[in-house]
């Protein structure tokens, strides 16, 4: 359990900080690779969503310098980042990963998108090869825990995603959404989802604009909307009541002067900008205009926080499940730590048994098949009896903190050091044996 995690999320850091740390999808594999070759790190994974940027690692000694990596990777001064960072180790890191995957740490507790995002990050890291044994187990378990939380609690049932909050806000501005026009700027999954919600609530027509025109056409086709060339954005935008923007532009694409133009052309009818881009697409001074309402990701968080209270109870239940799962995972990892030792022990004794049988076979002369079986059963029986206590002790010890000491003693007693390496190399054999051990106990 030498897991370490460092990162920022919507609670710890304002949008401005998250904007600077966000890693675009295309650069995610590089980030994973960079982290995995950082001193003291064995495995690495990077999770970067709109609301969080997290670096998860399995380290050689549990004390890798993740902060150093951050400052080096983002070329930021320590004092800029320090107040917003959180770091978890060992059990706490496991708990955090479970909570994130189960959507308990989300801006909208219980929303379903985060699990998909974690799965994507995991797939990316696996593809790069920076996630192997330990992190692999951690995340496989995290997905199972997330599923358990989802099925056993109501946390996700009335899921208020960003999208549905956007719908509620739009209703507070426009009353009914019947006949309203939506403009999607930048074809992304989140904006697509929000658009789908708005259409489901009665919005009539939809425009889509994207820097890559083909993607706009594709998305427009999906909603039977109209694709708009990015150059025509400002000429068309005033026809929309609701603008959902999520481009990857490093600068704001909607500024105050655009807002003034739009308002003039639409006779001051209100406009609602839902800015889910990080960094933001709508400049903050837009909100100063009468009749223009802009909500960025942080604002949406505030808007949804009222819903969080309703789910607190379910979330508590979910937290309890997570606690149990963390214990279980820890125990399992320890058990896994003793497995190679048990396997070596078994193999060691088996080799001795075979050697002894071979040695005495000559003296015993010819044996009938029944006698062969009896000898086999006798020797095996003795070994199993002898092995029983050490294996049980090992398994019990695995759950305690003294595991390493006991493993050490057993290895020394049976002189298992060299053999263990051989076992480790036979990955397949080991995993079969693991299953055997698990089923037996």
């Amino acid at each position: 359990m030498r897991f370490q995690l460092i990162g920022v999320n919507h609670n710890s850091a304002p949008l401005e900080v998250r904007e600077r740390l966000a890693i675009p999808e295309s650069r995610l594999p590089d980030a994973c690779r960079d982290l995995s070759v950082h001193p003291g790190i064995e495995e690495a994974m990077v999770l970067s969503t709109c609301n969080r940027v997290e670096f998860i690692a399995h380290t050689t000694n549990g004390h890798a310098d993740l902060r150093g990596f951050l400052h080096q990777h983002f070329q930021l001064k320590p004092e800029e980042l320090e107040p917003h960072l959180y770091e978890f180790r060992e059990k706490d890191a496991v708990r955090h990963v479970f909570r994130v995957a189960s959507s308990l740490d989300s801006m909208v507790v219980g929303e379903a998108q985060i699990l998909g995002q974690v799965k994507e990050a995991y797939a990316t890291a696996r593809a790069v090869g920076s996630v192997r044994g330990q992190l692999d187990q951690l995340f496989t378990r995290a997905f199972a825990v997330a599923k358990r939380v989802r099925t056993e609690t109501e946390v996700g049932s009335s899921s208020v995603s960003i999208a549905s909050v956007a719908v509620e806000l739009a209703k507070k501005i426009f009353g009914t959404l019947q006949g309203k026009t939506v403009f999607i700027v930048g074809a992304g999954k989140m904006s697509e989802l929000a658009a789908r919600h708005l259409l489901a609530h009665g919005c009539a027509s939809i425009f889509v604009s994207n820097r890559t025109y083909d993607r706009a056409v594709g998305l427009a086709h999906k909603f039977s909307g109209q694709a708009i060339k990015f150059d025509d954005l400002y000429n068309t935008c005033d026809r929309a009541d609701i603008v959902i923007t999520s481009t990857g532009s490093p600068h704001a694409i909607f500024r105050r002067e655009h807002g003034e133009q739009f308002l003039q052309r639409r006779k001051n009818k209100p406009m609602f900008f839902i800015d889910i881009a990080v960094p933001r697409d709508v400049s903050p001074d837009m909100a100063k205009l009468d009749g223009i309402f802009t909500y960025d990701l942080d604002d949406l968080q505030q808007a949804v926080s009222s819903h969080v209270a309703d789910r607190r109870k379910e979330a508590e239940l979910a937290e309890a499940i997570i606690s149990i799962e963390v214990e279980r995972f820890e125990a399992r990892l320890h058990t896994l730590d003793v497995v190679p030792t048990i396997v070596s022990l078994q193999e060691h004794l088996e080799t001795i048994r075979q050697a002894e049988i071979d040695r005495v076979r000559g003296r015993m002369g010819h044996l009938t098949p029944e006698q062969e079986l009896a000898v086999e059963a006798l020797t095996r029986g003795i070994i199993n009896k002898v092995m029983h206590t050490p294996i049980t002790t090992l398994k019990t010890a695995a759950k305690e903190s003294e595991a390493t000491t006991v493993i050490d003693v057993v290895r020394r007693l049976f002189n298992l050091h060299e053999k263990e390496k051989g076992v480790a190399s036979q990955a397949n054999k080991e995993s079969t044996a693991k299953k055997e051990v698990e089923t037996r106990h």
């Binding site: 209703k171 426009f174 009353g175 001051n268 209100p270 009468d290 309402f293 909500y295 505030q302 009222s306």
Partner: protein, 270 residues
């Protein structure tokens, strides 16, 4: 008897008044229902009071306090119509206090001041009063709506979670209430002024445009027209519309107060 019924109405409107203050702080469905029922009951008493007044046979409509009572009743009618269409009691936040104030003033004074001018054509006078007061009532509602618009706009801009649970209707609904009552009130106000001119012409043979009452009424009408025009032409709403509505409202109040200074449109103690 009329004044007794009016006092019953006043008691009911008092609940509405309390609602208006509570609603500003927190939302309560139950309380808004109670306020609505109380207001309806108040309107019944109020109506009875007005009918009795009418049946008494005097042209006491033209007294200040009965005028106030009529205006309060018409404002409540507008409020109820708005409720029927938009299912919102929130304009009550502004309408209830005004109605309460008007009814209160009308209900405490037992000796109404009467219009002393001799009016030859009573039919025109009654038409004038009802039209003008309907216009006033629409203006009251429109004024209320524009204030609520500001509140709701501010809430949405402040991005507090409360903006989602606020008791106020959607911004565009408030805007519609304001604009529609503005549009509805305008012809009444215009016709009210025209009938007033007819009354003046038949009584005095001329309209004295320098009389404070007439001057202020014309000013109020002009502001009213500017409001309708800017709204229709360039969609003014929010802060600018609220400023205009406040201005029109103040002009209306001043025009009403001008009764005390006007030589031809004067009330005096009976």
């Amino acid at each position: 008897m009329s004044i007794l019924w009016l006092r019953f109405a006043l008691a009911c409107y008092f609940i509405g008044l309390v609602y208006a203050f509570v609603a500003l702080r927190r939302t309560s469905d139950l309380f808004s229902r109670i306020a609505l029922h109380a207001a309806s009951l108040g309107m019944v008493f109020h109506f009875v009071s007005l009918v009795e007044l009418f049946l008494s046979g005097h042209v006491v409509w033209a007294s200040v306090h009965n005028g106030e009572s009529l205006l309060a009743f018409l404002s409540m009618t507008f409020f109820m119509v708005t409720y029927a269409i938009y299912k919102t009691t929130s304009p009550g936040v502004v309408v209830f206090p005004i109605v309460f104030f008007l009814t209160f003033v009308a209900a405490v004074d037992q000796q109404p001041v009467l219009l002393t001018s001799f009016v030859s054509n009573k039919g025109w006078l009654v038409a004038h009063i009802i039209l003008i007061f309907t216009g006033y009532a629409a203006l009251v509602l429109s004024f209320g709506a524009s204030l609520l618009y500001l509140v709701q706009e501010r809430r949405l801009k402040s991005k507090q979670p409360a903006s989602l649970t606020s008791f106020l209707p959607a911004l565009e609904v408030i805007d519609q209430i304001g604009y529609r009552s503005l549009l509805l009130g305008f012809p009444f106000m215009t016709l009210g002024l025209l009938t007033g001119s007819v009354v003046a012409l038949t009584t005095y043979g001329r309209v004295d445009f320098l009389d404070p009452k007439i001057l202020l009424s014309l000013l109020m009408w002009a502001v009213y027209m500017v409001m309708v025009f800017t709204r229709w032409n360039s969609g003014w709403r929010g802060r600018r519309a609220a400023v205009l509505a406040t201005f029109a409202f103040v002009a209306a109040v001043v025009a009403w107060a001008a009764n005390y200074f006007s030589t031809i449109h004067r009330f005096a103690a009976s």
